[in-house]
Amino acid sequence: MPQSLLPWFLVIQRLGIALLTLIIVSFAVFFATELLPGDVAEILLGQAATPEAVAGLRSAMGLDEPAFSRFIGWLVGLAGGDLGTSYVNNTEVVDLLSGRLSNSLRLAGVTTLVSVPVALSLGIGAAMWRGSLFDRVVTVLTISVISVPEFMVATLAVLIFAVWLDWLPALSYGVDTSSLGAMLKAYAMPVITLSFVISAQMIRMTRAAVIETINTPYVEMALLKGASRKRMVLVHALPNALGPIANAVALSLSYLVGGVIIVETIFNYPGVAKLMVDAVSTRDLPLIQSCAMIFCVSYLLLITLADLIAILSNPRLRR
């Protein structure tokens, strides 16, 4: 194969694997949903689900077709960029999803902007002064922070900052976000809570990755050139630890799209995680599938991005 085509081949291979993963996930989600008791009509009717009522609602919703063929139809539609129509409220899934997704992404974005720099600097700092008091404190703190259940952190944050101190709003959605200050206020608490949750892993992995590179001869060489500790770590160790750090960051961030259900519930923030929960509880297959696809795509995207960063940070792989 000509050298110049190799990167493209790799990209296509990547995409192919991603597509395959998506299809597997889609089928897995479909069968999992089928395993759950009840369908949309039964669930919507709840206690009132008599056979006649269910049959009536089913035909009204157009669910007479077998589930599998509906699913295949949805897949075919997806190939054409159509996410389908929600069974429950007969709205285009795209319309339901777009607002929620942008909410989720905004929250994820702000959280990323806050937590990644903090986590990386703590991790790097701990590695730089390995064994020092700072290192020990950071290590114990990271474990303590993830030991506290997320809902407790969130509730405590609301209690302190919203109820007692009255500094921040208890809810994050629908409050005034016109100015930058107001927006920071609105997002402060969910962002703090989420940062607590995702930072620990990033801090630990960053610390380990940097320590590993600090032990390399080229970092010792920098020391022997008279470089300061800071320079050794930031200029020499860090660029070479970027790959594993990016990987850890990607894994942590992938949580921000689909895993934030508790934060969405407590701060009443309409994101995709809550949408997914709604969809599962109403057995709204097109919506479940679409959400699952979004989680999966974002996961794959982040992982790929991490790979890309690893490749870009390493000239040997960059060619």
């Binding site: 759950l36 008791p37 009840g38 039964e42 669930i43 919507l44 009717l45 709840g46 206690q47 009132a48 689900a49 008599t50 009522a53 009536g56 609602l57 035909s59 009204a60 919703m61 929600s86 429950v88 409220n89 709205t91 339901l96 607002g99 929620r100 509730t155 609301v158 209690l159 919203a162 109820v163 009255d166 709003p169 208890a170 809810l171 959605y173 629908g174 409050v175 519930t265 407590i266 701060f267 009443n268 309409p270 809550k274 949408l275 709604d278 969809a279 599962v280 509880s281 109403t282 709204d284 919506l287």
Partner: protein, 536 residues
């Protein structure tokens, strides 16, 4: 899964319809409806701490943000499909009914000027003139006809389809007069028209992404599962109200978060809060609460056709093993009233006061279980968050059982799919029944041999015949007597243990004025938005 809290869904609509056909009086029906909610005069079942609620001068202006407890992508602006509290609250803000029930349970006219009939079969609805929809269109007979006829169309998926079916003819007399012909005389049509599902929409409306109603608020935005925002309708046809400039409604499912949002001032109204939070709310001067007890209950169902329910003594033993006081005081923190294992609540006129609640008597239970040979046998008790407080009730029961060597095993299952998977099916499980207006509906729905929701598979020919007799009995005293006997039969024979009636508590800012209780449920029968105001 949140079950539909409406009182008027599915099968029992058919019961109401049935009863109406038999010609129950308008007054009877009203009583039935009232019994499901809060009767202002019903002794002791209503607590009101809203200081500003009575005799205050309304203040205009301000925005009310209110939070319910559940919402999902299934949220709708189509009144025919409304099923969650959130839907009712929203629809009440944007639409109007022909009639409505006030706090005393009396039928008042809303969009209708009058609803009248000579024979209770052919009705004439006269509409108020000068009422306009939000888009400026005037309200005319066609709109009412369209709104009512929708319920007959099965593809709409109306929740009151079976009730609406009795309307055999809905026709225009003139621009402001509609003729409704029933298949049989029914004096209660005005009360039926007060149901939330019979909101009036503009003729030809098929798109419910926004609301075009006559209501006090104009729909500014609606996102299913997120929120709805309404702004004051300047052309509202009522002389009074709305007082608020705008009204925003959404759900905060987490109880703690709901209360915190209220206390931090982010919302002004938190519906249906946990009794456990009462202590916290009491200590806060800026917050008030409204407590009401209705016919809602969570009950232990022991199927009489399955082991162990089929063994003599088990059901009775379990009823003695239920520590009602502990359930009332611990699980509900006092916001409940002790019940006596039958479904007719004390606020109902047919309630049998001579039937005492069973005392907690573990020794008696023990001897009954011993006789049934069930001591030490592991018996799973299925509970779920889906049935309010059932897990706590099961735990209390399990604990009492362990004291007497009864091996009850609590089996907590997911809320998701509970009603289709476990309810009515497991040998011993919990259910939750929403208030129904009459004993007839309750009995037909839950205890007749052919009842669709015969939770314990109670079969008694005597009971069935009494049910038929009571339905036909015109003599009120005779009817009461029969219902009293039937309550006693259920209490003693059926496999349903009903320990307490559950109260509802709403919390709101003390600045809120104009709030009154309503028989149709919390939040003033969901219609509070147009009546309340915010004091400075």
């Amino acid at each position: 899964m949140t079950k539909t809290p409406t009182n008027w869904t599915g099968r029992d609509d058919a019961m109401v319809e049935h009863m109406i056909r038999r010609g129950a009086s308008r007054r009877d029906l009203l009583k039935m409806l009232m019994s499901s909610g809060v009767a202002a005069a019903a002794g002791g079942s209503l607590l009101m701490r809203a200081s500003a609620a009575v005799a205050a001068t309304p203040v205009t202006g301000g925005t009310l943000r209110a939070a319910g407890w559940s919402s999902s992508t299934a949220d709708t602006l189509d009144p025919a499909k409304a099923s969650l509290s959130t839907d009712y609250a929203r629809c009440c803000a944007f639409y109007n009914r022909l009639t409505f029930l006030d706090e005393a349970g009396e039928v008042n006219m809303e969009l209708a000027e009058s609803v009248s009939s000579d024979d209770a079969q052919t009705w004439e609805v006269k509409l108020k003139p000068g009422v306009t929809f939000h888009d400026g269109k005037a309200l005319v007979a066609e709109d009412v006809i369209y709104s009512l006829k929708r319920h007959l169309d099965e593809s709409v998926g109306s929740k009151v389809n079976s009730i609406a079916k009795q309307m055999t003819e809905i026709s225009k007399v003139d621009d402001l007069t509609v003729k409704i012909v029933l298949d049989a005389p029914n004096a209660d049509l005005p009360t039926i028209l007060a149901l939330h599902h019979f909101m009036i929409i503009a003729e030809g409306t098929t798109d419910f992404s926004t609301a075009n109603g006559t209501g006090a608020f104009i729909c500014e935005s609606f996102e299913p599962g997120v929120r709805s925002v309404g702004v004051k309708n300047p052309n509202y046809f009522k002389a009074e109200g709305p007082y608020l400039d705008s009204f925003e409604f959404f759900a905060i499912p987490d109880n703690n978060a709901r209360i915190n949002a209220l206390m931090s001032g982010d919302i002004q109204y938190a519906a249906s809060v946990n009794p456990r939070s009462a202590r916290l709310l009491d200590s806060n001067d800026s917050v008030s609460t409204l407590v009401s007890t209705s016919g809602n209950y969570t009950n232990l169902n022991m199927r009489l056709d399955m082991n162990p329910g089929e063994k003599a003594g088990f059901v009775e033993g379990m009823k003695y093993l239920m520590n009602r006081e502990a359930i009332q005081k611990s699980a509900f923190r006092g916001l409940a009233e002790i019940a006596n294992d039958q479904p007719v609540s004390p606020s109902n006129r047919y309630f049998n006061p001579n039937l005492p609640a069973r005392e907690f008597d573990p020794e008696r239970a023990k001897s009954l279980f011993d006789k049934a040979g069930l001591l030490g046998v592991e018996i799973p008790v299925v509970a779920s968050e889906a049935a309010t407080a059932s897990v706590d009730m099961a735990t209390i029961l399990q604990q009492a059982g362990s004291q007497i060597g009864m091996n009850l095993k609590v089996d907590r299952v997911p809320s998701d799919g509970y009603w289709s998977n476990y309810w009515l099916k497991a040998p011993v499980h919990y259910g939750n029944i929403n208030p129904r207006p009459t004993p007839d509906i309750l009995f037909s729905l839950l205890y007749a041999s052919d009842a669709p929701w015969n939770e314990s598979q109670y079969k008694s020919e005597k009971f069935d015949s009494m049910l038929v007799e009571a339905r036909g009995a015109l003599d009120e005293e005779r009817r009461k007597e029969i219902y009293w006997d039937m309550q006693e039969m259920i209490s003693n024979e059926a496999g349903t243990g009903i320990p307490v009636w559950i109260s509802n508590m709403d919390a709101f800012t003390s600045k809120l004025g104009g709030l009154k209780p309503n028989p149709l449920g919390g939040m003033m029968g969901y219609a509070f938005a147009e009546y309340v105001w915010l004091n400075d």
